[in-house]
């Protein structure tokens, strides 16, 4: 397929996934901000989140304080914020538009309809229905788009590049979600999360990645930070974990393999096998923050390499 087409498909999927995960991060942070104990602390909490999303400077250029309203409106509507959900959904649609002939009509219409809706959403409407309802809507549109993709697209290269985009983005985003939480949680925390506050924080984190029920099912025990990390990093049967995301990245990558992608595949395979055979205790020894940052650097590098090998190749 055309390299440019593959590029648009890849980014279409990345932006949709990013919109969903942004909604997830905002949702969990918003819920934590509502906990009575956090009355004083909401501003640092939002600031920490923006920092990990690398949007701190863009935000501060416009807003003096990290109030809930300011951050949410910035992250949802702001047309100048490249990370806002508005911008992600617009980019999803623009990429889809550029290759609409390659998409099934159902998939194109799904993306177009999502865009038409967010385009018409106003802040007044958002606050009237509550941000929670909006985050639900974004997740729902992302579920729909993924379902329509799998349910209607031919299983050829185009689907592979869409899936590559989805999982590469998810790997990055899940790592960020973990960083946001551990930033707020780790200092002074002991192994178990039996304090009421901790419990709510951990369960909110799990819920934000749809992992609360999964945790209960897998561990049948109390919530501890170590196990939460294990679930979201190393468990390949957990759909939003780093291990699962990398497994999908690797397998989709090997299926579009070309004459110059060998090194990219090797690097992806290496990262995937680290996750497959890794132990959570070892990761904690190395240092959790360092581990996640290093992981995100590798994901970034993989993204660049995929671009060079497949999406924006130089002549011949």
């Amino acid at each position: 397929m055309l390299s440019r087409t593959a590029d648009h498909l890849f980014w279409m999927a990345r932006y949709m996934e990013r919109a969903e995960n942004t909604a997830r991060i905002l949702d969990v942070t918003y819920r934590l901000s509502l906990l009575p104990q956090n009355g004083e602390d909401v501003e640092p909490m939002w600031a920490g989140m923006l920092k990990i999303m690398e949007l701190q400077d863009t935000f501060l250029a416009k807003h003096p304080r990290h109030t809930t309203e300011a951050v949410l409106e910035f992250m949802i509507f702001d047309k100048d914020n490249p990370g806002s959900i508005y911008r992600c959904l617009r980019a999803t649609r623009e990429n889809a538009h550029a290759v609409r002939g390659t998409l099934t009509s159902e998939l194109w219409e799904t993306s177009n309809e999502t865009w038409l809706k967010i385009r018409d959403l106003t802040a007044a409407k958002l606050w009237e229905n509550g941000p929670g309802a909006f985050f639900e809507w974004v997740k729902y549109r992302s579920h729909l788009s993924r379902g329509v993709t799998i349910g209607t697209m031919l299983q050829d290269e185009s689907l592979r590049f869409i899936r590559l985009g989805t999982f590469l983005e998810r790997a990055d985003n899940t790592a960020r979600i973990l960083e946001v939480k551990y930033l707020n949680l780790l200092p002074g925390s002991d192994e178990d999360a039996s304090h009421a506050t901790d419990y709510y924080q951990w369960s909110a984190l799990l819920q934000s990645v749809s992992a609360f029920e999964v945790y209960r099912k897998v561990y049948r025990d109390q919530i501890t930070p170590l196990r939460v990390a294990e679930l979201l990093i190393l468990r390949a049967d957990m759909p939003r974990s780093l291990a699962r995301s990398m497994k999908e990245v690797y397998s989709n990558l090997t299926r579009v393999s070309n004459a110059r992608s060998a090194e990219t595949e090797r690097l992806a395979g290496e990262l995937e096998s680290h996750l497959r055979f890794g132990r959570i205790e070892r990761i904690f020894e190395v240092g959790f923050r360092n581990y996640l940052e290093d992981f995100r650097d590798r994901i970034f590098d993989l993204g660049c390499r995929i671009s060079e090998d497949f999406l924006i190749p130089t002549r011949a």
């Binding site: 390299s3 440019r4 593959a6 623009e94 550029a98 219409e109 177009n112 309809e113 038409l116 590049f161």
Partner: protein, 472 residues
């Protein structure tokens, strides 16, 4: 404005419904108004969701609009279509022969039927094409000929669009919409199908591949997602199952065109290009073109790739050449033209200019190289001031203009704000030429939605209707 009697497609002069509209008129009469209203709203919502839009130039960039769709079809009886079709085949055949002649021996110029200057000094004449052979000697593989019905119902050709005619996707989407909204109408009428157009187009494109290519790779080339007709480009590529490429996706090496794919370079044999000649190749034409492919002309002249339509077809659909088409038909085919031409005054001739200036309020004046309904004067619909200001342009640059009598275009009942009212329309059938000439029955019907307006272009607020050729 003089009171003119217009030919009404649905009703005869005595007010009775024409036979081919009888079934539809009864249905319209029997269907509750609120159901129709609901269906019209549904059509709007669906067009939005499908993203069947066009970009409007001169407005905020990225502005996308719907082309209004009217649910009252334009119906053509099979017998009328048969003669229209014969006339269109004849015309397009003569035009293709003309282009071939102009870029080879120029017999028609030597015979003195057309002044050589008119052709060779025309901006649309491409000297680069002189002596170049193209597969099957066909230049305009896709022609969109604009036809109107005027006077007592006779057909006239207004324009032969032989460069990159658009609109066929609306023809197909209008049909899809009608069938979705009102399936019962299709159970009651024998409407000739049009859905196989993309198949026919692909067949045509493959048939004109460079000699010796057994299984040609066809692509559609678009200027990009912000082009006004992008929807159509994407639609046709998808329907034919071929790649939609931009200039940046292609490159030329050893006179062979390749596209950049995820698996490396891949050969391209036929390019259905929706990019104007001027922008095709920055090495050969406009150097500032960002949407072309350097070296494309050279590969083309070497016969290694087919461009569809060919370069230089504009020399045959230019408004200054239009008056000579009947002569071409006689000269090349030895036949009398089946379709009428509109009498045309060429303002470069002093006597025609004098006539035009004296009769501006009755005439339509068009720019020779204009298109899309821009830069024209419709005398009877213009104010004194508009006419006087146009007169100045005309006097300053008479060569740029032609004029024609204002045709009393036929009209057809159409939904407007206050119910149903007659609106003027035209018809653009699409003629495909490869190893054979093929057409789907009908074409795109465009309708001028403003009362009294004769301009049907979508850029000027025109709408579309489904076109039915009704088999008896």
């Amino acid at each position: 404005m003089a009171i003119t009697k217009f030919f009404n497609e649905m009703t005869a002069d005595d007010g009775s419904v024409r036979a081919h509209y009888a079934g539809y008129a009864k249905w319209l009469n029997d269907t509750p108004a609120d159901r129709i209203e609901r269906k019209r709203a549904e059509a709007d919502a669906l067009f939005h969701r499908y993203g069947i839009t066009f970009a409007v130039y001169g407005e905020e960039s990225g502005t996308e609009r719907l082309i209004p769709f009217d649910i009252i079809p334009r119906i053509i009886p099979a017998k009328e279509w048969k003669s229209l079709e014969a006339g269109l085949r004849q015309r397009v055949k003569a035009l293709n022969t003309f282009i071939h002649d102009i870029y080879h021996d120029q017999e028609i110029l030597k015979a003195g039927h057309i002044p050589a200057d008119q052709v060779l000094k025309n901006a649309q004449y491409r000297p680069e094409m002189q002596g170049v052979n193209v597969p099957c000697d066909i230049y305009a593989h896709i022609a969109g000929v604009d036809v109107v019905r005027a006077g007592a119902g006779e057909f006239y050709v207004l324009e032969d669009n032989l460069r990159v005619p658009s609109g066929v996707s609306y023809m197909l989407e209008d049909r899809r919409m009608m069938m979705r909204l009102f399936p019962e109408l299709f159970a009651r009428h024998r409407v000739a199908p049009v859905e196989h157009y993309p198949d026919m187009l692909l067949h045509t494109l493959r048939s004109v591949a460079p000699v010796g290519v057994a299984d040609p790779t066809v692509v559609v080339m678009t200027p990009g997602a912000y082009n006004s007709a992008y929807f159509e480009h994407a639609f046709l590529a998808q329907q034919m199952g071929v790649e939609l490429v931009e200039g940046q996706d292609l490159f030329v090496e050893d006179d062979q065109v390749f596209m950049r794919t995820t698996q490396g370079p891949r050969r391209v044999d036929v390019i259905y290009r929706r990019v104007d000649d001027d922008f095709l190749d920055p090495q050969a034409f406009r150097k500032d073109s960002m949407i072309g492919v350097p070296g494309l002309l050279k590969a083309y002249r070497a016969g290694r790739v087919t461009l569809s339509n060919a370069i230089g077809t504009g020399v045959a659909d230019d408004k200054s050449i239009y008056p000579y088409v009947p002569e071409m038909i006689r000269f090349y085919l030895g036949e009398e033209p089946i379709l009428n031409n509109v009498p045309t005054y060429m303002c470069r001739k002093p006597e025609d200019l004098a006539y035009t200036l004296a009769h501006l309020p009755e005439l339509v004046v068009k720019e020779v190289h204009g298109a899309g309904g821009y830069g024209m004067l419709v005398g009877p619909a213009s104010t004194k001031e508009q006419i006087e200001s146009f007169r100045k342009h005309l006097e300053a640059n008479p060569d740029k203009y032609i004029s024609q009598p204002t045709l009393a275009l036929s009209n057809c009942p159409t939904f407007v704000e206050n119910g149903i009212a007659p609106r003027h329309l035209d018809l653009r059938p699409f003629v495909l030429s490869g190893t054979e000439i093929q057409m789907v029955p009908g074409g795109l019907t465009r309708v001028a939605l403003r009362e009294g307006s004769l301009v049907v272009n979508s850029s000027q607020g025109g709408g579309t209707k489904d076109t039915w050729v009704l088999e008896a």
